[in-house]
Structure formats: C-alpha cells, structure tokens
C-alpha cells in the first residue's frame, strides 16, 4: 500500500492490490501502523491506539474502534486472522 500524508489533514492510501483509494483518519492510520508490525487482537489494538493518540478509553470509543476494524476488514485494508 502507498500513502500520501497531508499535515493537519487525513492520509490518502492507495491499495495496490485493488487500486482503490481510501481516506484514513488518524485513528485508522494508527490501526494500520500497529497491524503493519504484527497481528493483534482487537482489545490490544484499542489499547495501543489509545496510547499512541493519547485518547481516553471509554465504552463509546471501544465500540467505535470495533466498528472501524470491521469497516477496514470489509474494505480489504486489514484481514481477520484465523483463531
């Protein structure tokens, strides 16, 4: 995948396999950054995103992140690993 990052703006990602463009929020970018290093379970991802972006972990934020992971999986940006 190739990305262009714009200061104060979102990141645009080019998915080389699909040819699709994706506009990533800082949170989505953090998710890709984390999973780019090693696979992780959803709770770990949420932990690391909160640390990286200095976010307070709330129930709302957890639900939003779980939804985001689902969206990214459906978009082909990440893949659910076999249990």
């Amino acid at each position: 995948m190739k990305t262009n990052r714009y200061d104060g703006d979102q990141t645009v990602l080019f998915h080389t396999l699909s040819g699709d463009l994706h506009i990533l929020s800082p949170i989505a970018e953090a998710v890709l950054d984390i999973l780019g290093k090693t696979p992780a379970a959803a709770p770990d991802i949420i932990d690391q995103v909160c640390n990286q972006l200095d976010l307070q972990r709330t129930k709302d934020l957890e639900n939003q992140l779980l939804w985001l992971l689902q969206e990214m999986d459906e978009s082909g940006l990440i893949e659910r690993a076999a249990p």
Binding site: K2, N4, D9, F14, G19
Partner: protein, 278 residues
Amino acid sequence: MGPFRIHLQTSLPAIARFFRTHYAAFPLYEEASLADFHIRIERPRNLRRWIRPQLLFFLDDYRPFHPYPLQMAVPLFEWGLNWCIAGHAHWALLIHAAVLEKHGKACLLIGKPESGKSTLCALLMDRGWRLLSDEFAIVDPGSGALLPIPRPVSLKGASIQVVRNLAPRLSVGGFCRNPALDEEMAYVVPPPDAVRRMHEPAEAGILVFPRFQSGRELEAAAVPPSRAVYALAENSFNYNILGPEGFRLLGLLVDKCRALELSYGEGTGVLDWFDTIF
C-alpha cells in the same frame, strides 16, 4: 493534435466542413502510417445507408460503438476521438477536466457533466486564457506538467447562447441536434494561438471544482488535499490502470496546487473571480 497524431478517413461532407473551420490551424502531415489513431467514419453499406441513415466509427478495423444517426457526424468524431485517447493513452495520467493557462500557470476545471466547465472554458478563452484542453488534463509522468490538446470546445443546450451572448468574438459552429436528448450541440473554434502553442506544456497551479446552479451566489471554498486527491481520482480515466504511478501523479498535482470548490450562478462575476486566482 498536441501529443497525438490522428489519421482520419471519411467522405462525409459534414466532417470535412468541420475540419475546415475548427481544425484549420492544426498541421497536416503527409505520412499517415505514423498516426497514433487510425479512425474511419463511414456510412453502412446496408439499408441504413439510405433509410434513417446511420454512421459507423472504426478505430483501425474495430467498431467500438453502435451506429450513430447521420446528423451526429461531428459529435461522433469528437466523442470517438475522446474514447480513443481515454482508452489508450496510458503513457500519461488522464483526468476529465478543462485546462487553461494564464501567467504561466494552469487551472484545471474538474467536474462531472453539467458542472459548467466547458462553458467556463469557452468564456475564459475569450478573456485571454490559453486553451490547453476542453476534455483532458494530460499529466506528463516525467515532469508532472500538463500537455495541451487544444481541440474544439463542445457546448450544448443553453450554454451555446450563453457563450454567443457573453463572448461574441468566439467562432461557434458544427451545429447539430442530438436526437437522443433533443438537445442542440455546437463547438467553439480553438484560438489559433492555442494551437500554435500546443507543444508548450504548462505547470499546474490550481484545481477548481465548479458547480453551476441557477441563481446561486458565487462562493469558493478550499478543498482539503485528501479530498482533492480523491476527487481527482474519481475524475480520472486511468489512474487505477497506472497503479502506484497514477497515485504518485495525483499526489504531485495536489502538492503543486490549491484546490477550490466553486459554486456559481448566472452572470460574469465568476469570470472576474478567475482573474484573481493567480
């Protein structure tokens, strides 16, 4: 025509007349075999030669479209050539845009049909902007510069009278009626100076996404770079065919240019606005 050589074979008087008026400034070459596109437009040899007469468009010996009505000879050539370029010129990044240059910088007008970009293109030509193209922004992959292909500017419906009223110096011809949409079509002759300079690229300076709406006040709003990349991709014929290189060129354009969404209605205020952008 700009970076392309076209070999056209036809015996249709309407196309011959159109070339005499609208392509008069373009150079003619002796050697047909060096053309990028070999186009043939002819009448069929069956009953449709005479009864509700039709036309056939060939690229080499391949017929990519259904037959067109005889009265659509000029649009068939123009649209057919657009199809040839959009479908084959993958040595460059192609974006559906009108492109004009002033003070050494190019303005891209990017938008879907009915956004008013061809009308704006014609009116800006009349105000001294150099026409690079009415249809394609051709981005050179080496330099990122925009390559001119200053072909006739297509107008349709109400825009024909708008241009004739606001820019009477422009020469408008090639009239025909599109039976499918019951709409008149016409073409503005490209200025000879634009044709003479068709091998002079221009550096991109600004991306404008126009939106015409009757009665609308003029308003320009900045488009964030991420949205501008996305919008360029949506209007590109081939960024996904070019793959990472296409993405690189989209990013290059956005890095070089301001991007603005321009809403406007009737009147010449929008033309005055363009005088302020560089």
